[in-house]
């Protein structure tokens, strides 16, 4: 025998679980998971992202996969797409960086500039 409160609880719990199936208003994370990405370690990065989001009850942020973006040397690549469609591309990701992106970018809204593709390219140039 359920009460109205229990109904409410089931609703909230299930809503979170089903959130991946609906477009969320906020961020969306895309992980490059082609052969190159997987070889470079995209799978643990993906798991770290999911774990971190779950820990913070942010199941509304879908983590999806995509194919090869074309810059395989910078894999694993993670893209964070905001509600307005603007993209931030993080490169050479690992588990720790992934956790940082969730904490700083997704939760607090601050782009981790040093992990972005722009920073990586700059660094590569200064080394030459």
């Amino acid at each position: 025998m359920k009460s109205i409160q229990e109904l409410e609880e089931i609703r909230n719990r299930m809503r979170d679980q089903m959130a991946t199936r609906e477009k969320s208003g906020g961020y969306r994370i895309v992980v490059g998971m082609a052969t190159c990405g997987i070889a470079a370690g995209a799978r643990p990065v993906m798991r770290a992202l999911i774990e971190e989001l779950q820990k913070r009850n942010r199941n509304d942020v879908p983590v999806t996969m995509t194919g090869c973006i074309g810059v395989c040397r910078l894999e694993p690549i993670v893209e964070v797409i905001a509600a307005d469609g603007s993209k931030t591309t993080y490169v050479k990701m690992d588990e720790n960086k992934a956790r940082r992106v969730v904490a700083e970018h997704i939760i607090n809204g601050n782009v981790c500039v040093d992990l972005t593709i722009g920073a990586a390219e700059k660094q590569a140039k200064s080394k030459e």
């Binding site: 359920k2 109205i4 109904l7 199936r21 999806t64």
Partner: protein, 597 residues
């Protein structure tokens, strides 16, 4: 609680199940395990997505990628490519053959963007065997709201204000029906659901019950509260085993959760629900016949009044509504009558689900706002007529309805306009006919159906429709005589007036409406002994054009009955008494010297 990064939704509706969707599901489970994704990806059985021509359908969320015509053998590739590597399997994407630019998302396919889904809101989205998923989509919130915040009269007022009309055919205002039943005095009252769905080709109700059974259960409980009934019955045809199974599971879950049964949600209101299987007779969809059938008697209609709202099942006040009508109720309660009134037209509010079939590219289920034009359904949502053929007419309302010809393609679809055109909304069958369909033959098809299904209780229907069918058979076999068309019309009109129930009263409609728009086709059959569409075989003749025939003799050698004769290098002739109209000669002639007419 576990979080899955992806959900694989696989249609387990009747259409797709018959094309192996259960094997697809088990293959998904197998390969997902093989790739160690079982903690990341969840496979879910859902109801019909509505694009049956393209079934079996698999949708992968969160991207919403829709795969069509999936076979069990494709599953390995989808798992390895899409779920492991994140690359959509292009060749299986919806719309793959049609456009170079593939649409990867369900939401961008025109078939879906043009629709407005209220009754089908959960079909293809939730797992119909999981009550929690229904609850997550606001399921049972309407029931909770009704039981705790509204009086029965307020519920009826809300439904009345929504202007919802019955989706089972007649389009009677649902709120008014509930009011009548509420006003009837009685210690016992019943709420019934009509899931008989007898129209040939219609499967809207089946899809709702297979894809979202809880919405009907919730709505019936609300109706029970509104009219003061504690018992509900769903009358469903036994030919719908999946729907029956899903309903059983859903009823059991609702009982376990205390959303059905004694003291629902602790509010003191009790309502129980049972299933009654019908043997699938069309006439048992008629409300009085349905109730006599539930009572265990022969399913025959009786004279109304008294109406069921006063004297229905077991002589008690009863509300009977159609499955789709019920599916609208929880949304109306939650979003309000005012919201519902913003959808549709002046006199028809909300949406209607159609089972679109016949000569159209996207056969399947569509839910459109009332007032959408036939042109939009056929061309924008339906993808047009295959093989570049010309649209001739759309048949709506099944054996009780009629056809809408090309000149009325821009008519908005709603109850009153369809009736004015001589057709009717019906329960939602929509069959698209093209230039190759003979309208007399179509009328005959529907009349054969009604003659078969007539219960035989009253003479106008039992004898009259038989006489009409005989006339149609006479006309289509080339024996029509002057006066036959007029006889058909006269019979049609008197049957409409004198038959006891809706079956007989509406049985002549397919004839009347084809006569109204395509009288010339009837006349061509009767007076010229010709079937303009080339369907009625008796009237087909193959002829050799003497000017074009070079006398090669190829046709004569191919003809299975040696009906063709002629000297070498001389024009040949066909002996009509021997010809069996197989058409082989026409296909074989290299000089286009043979024609059909």
């Amino acid at each position: 609680m576990h979080f899955y990064r992806a959900h694989v939704l696989c249609c387990a509706g009747t259409g797709c199940t018959s094309s192996k969707s259960l094997d697809i599901i088990s293959n998904f489970e197998k390969y997902i395990k093989e790739n160690q994704l079982e903690n990341e990806v969840k496979v879910i059985k859902t109801g019909c997505f509505g694009l049956c021509a393209e079934g079996p359908i698999v949708v992968v969320y969160p991207e919403g990628t829709m795969y069509v015509r999936v076979s069990p053998a494709d599953v390995k590739e989808i798992v390895e490519e899409h779920l492991v590597k994140g690359r959509a399997v292009q060749r299986l994407l919806a719309g793959h053959d049609k456009t170079a630019e593939v649409s990867q998302s369900l939401d961008n396919i025109e078939f879906f963007t043009r629709q407005k889904r209220i009754a089908l809101r959960n079909c293809g989205v939730i797992n119909p065997e999981c009550i929690d998923e229904y609850i997550a989509r606001d399921g049972y919130s309407a029931l909770a709201k009704v039981l705790t915040q509204m009086t029965p009269q307020q519920v009826i007022d809300e439904v009345t204000a929504s202007n919802l009309r019955g989706r089972g055919g007649a389009g009677f205002p649902t709120g008014r029906k509930w009011q009548f039943a509420a006003n009837s005095k009685g210690d016992i009252k019943y709420v019934c659901c009509n899931a008989d769905e007898g129209d040939p080709g219609a499967f809207m109700d089946r899809s709702i019950l297979e894809g979202d059974p809880h919405s009907v259960i919730e709505a019936m409980t609300i109706a029970g509260y509104a009219i003061g009934a504690n018992h509900g019955l769903i009358y469903i045809r036994a030919e719908y085993p999946i729907a029956v199974q899903r309903l059983k599971i859903a009823i059991q879950q609702a009982n376990e959760y205390g959303l059905l049964g004694e003291n629902i949600l602790g509010t003191g209101f009790s309502f129980d629900l049972q299933i009654r299987l019908g043997a699938g007779a069309f006439v048992c969809g008629e409300e009085t016949a349905l109730m006599t059938s539930i009572e265990g008697k022969r399913g025959e209609p009786r004279v109304r009044p008294p109406f069921p709202a006063v004297k229905g099942l077991f002589g008690k006040p009863t509300v009977l509504n159609n499955v789709e009508t019920y599916a609208n109720i929880p949304v109306i309660i939650l979003k309000g009558a005012e919201w519902f009134n913003t959808i549709g037209t002046e006199r028809s509010k909300g949406t209607k689900v159609f089972a679109v079939g016949g000569n159209i590219v996207n056969t399947g289920l569509v839910e459109i706002a009332m007032g959408t034009t036939l042109r939009e359904i056929v061309y924008d949502i339906g993808g047009g007529i295959p093989n570049g053929k010309k649209f001739k007419a759309a048949q709506t309302g099944g054996p009780s309805g009629g056809c809408i010809p090309a000149e009325h393609l821009d008519t908005p679809i709603e109850y009153d306009t369809l009736t004015k055109l001589g057709s009717m909304m019906g329960s939602g069958g929509l069959i698209v006919l093209d230039e190759d369909n003979c309208m007399v033959d179509i009328a005959k098809f529907f009349l054969e159906f009604t003659v078969d299904e007539s219960c035989g209780k009253c003479p106008p229907c039992r004898i009259g429709t038989k006489r009409m069918l005989e006339l149609l058979e006479k006309i289509t076999s080339g024996d029509g005589e002057d006066g036959d068309i007029e006889k058909l019309e006269e019979l049609a009109k008197s049957i409409s007036k004198s038959a006891l129930c809706g079956l007989g009263q509406t049985a002549p409609n397919p004839v009347l409406s084809t006569l109204r728009y395509f009288r010339h086709e009837y006349e061509a059959h009767v007076y010229d002994k010709k079937c303009p569409a080339g369907v009625c075989k008796a009237m087909l003749h193959y002829h050799i054009i003497a000017d074009k025939c070079i006398g090669c003799g190829l046709c004569a050698r191919k003809c299975p009955t040696s009906a063709i004769s002629g000297d070498k290098k001389q024009p040949h002739v066909i002996d009509q008494s021997k010809c069996i109209k197989c058409g082989v000669c026409m296909e074989s002639c290299k000089f286009a010297a043979i024609y059909r007419g």
